[in-house]
């Protein structure tokens, strides 16, 4: 099966076979967990094996969905729909990539569909070229005052971080979440989103800089802030 580069279509048609070579991928699973035998067993009808896969990844997929949708109910729907869709399409998964990358791709598509349905989020298709406009970015140059972890409660800090991520456009948000929160490799992220490696790198930089700007406004040392064009 040829990998699709149209991720918006995937959630409505079928999850794609991916082509990331195992040696290119980072390892998101704990030591001792062997994914491939479980996937094989599940494909042959072993329900217990599929349940083990669900238990292994449900937390990551729920967090991923919550980070993209920023909504508990949507995240629960995405969690269910992603695993149900994966189960329905297990026969299409040919094992050239990791099951985790595959389920992430399904979950990202389900999450983006939720955003689209909400209509409050102006979604740009993930495979559409994005003008990053780096040369026009206004950057705030100010050092941070101490550690945010020491200045805010865990709940307050989570709220701040969630708000900053939510303010990113989905095309940047999804790349940031996969690379810097889920800690997937550049290649895995490209495969999961159906975009090129250069696009991942470009969007990741943009996302990181936008988040830096937002957090710097909150965390900067007072009285020493300076604005500058770089």
């Amino acid at each position: 099966m040829t990998p699709s580069r149209q991720p918006e279509e995937i959630a409505e048609v079928d999850p794609p076979e991916t082509t990331v070579a195992p040696e290119e991928a980072s390892e998101p699973t704990p030591a001792g967990f062997q994914e491939a035998p479980l996937v094989e067993a599940a494909r042959q009808g072993d329900a217990e094996a599929f349940s083990k896969l669900v238990k292994q990844y449900e937390r990551k997929i729920f967090r991923l969905a919550k980070n993209i949708t920023q909504n508990d109910e949507d995240a629960e729907d995405v969690l269910q729909e992603a695993f149900l869709k994966a189960y329905e399409h297990l026969d299409d998964f040919q094992g050239n990539s990791k099951f985790y990358t595959w389920i992430v791709r399904i979950a990202v598509n389900e999450s983006l569909m939720k955003l689209r349905k909400r209509k409050s989020d102006k979604t740009v298709p993930l495979d559409e070229p994005v003008e990053t406009g780096e040369e026009t970015v206004v950057r705030e140059i100010a050092v941070w005052e101490g550690n945010p972890e020491d200045q805010y409660s865990g709940e307050e800090l989570r709220g701040i971080l969630d708000s900053a991520v939510q303010a990113l456009k989905p095309v940047f948000r999804t790349v940031f979440i996969l690379r810097d929160i889920e800690e997937m490799s550049t290649e895995e992220t490209a495969e999961a989103l159906g975009i090129s490696v250069p696009a991942v790198k470009s969007r990741l930089l943009r996302a990181r800089l936008q988040l830096r700007e937002r957090l710097t406004r909150l965390f900067k040392r007072k009285g020493e802030d300076v604005f500058a064009y770089l």
Partner: protein, 88 residues
């Protein structure tokens, strides 16, 4: 800059960037605060899936599995679980 922060640039380029960052106050602040931005996100503890959500997920999956079995779509494992081969 992302690749520099991810430590995925070659030694020569890294040395050049480090030299520049050490001499350019603006770049130093941008690199430092971007690095701290990533650290604060990576330091976030993942919240567990609420028990009710887990329960509903497993119930939905069990229902799907039962429906698939009823259609006779996935009986192979019970017959020969040792093959490790995907159904053809």
């Amino acid at each position: 800059m992302s690749e520099y922060l991810d430590d995925s640039v070659d030694t020569k380029l890294r040395a050049e960037l480090e030299l520049h960052v050490s001499q350019c106050p603006n770049c130093f602040v941008v690199v430092d605060t971007t690095k701290r931005t990533l650290q604060v996100y990576k330091g976030m503890e993942a919240q567990d899936v609420p028990a009710g959500v887990k329960g509903r997920l497993m119930a939905a999956i069990e229902k799907k599995i039962a429906a698939r079995r009823a259609r006779g779509c996935a009986p192979a494992a019970a017959q020969n679980p040792s093959t490790g081969q995907a159904p053809r």
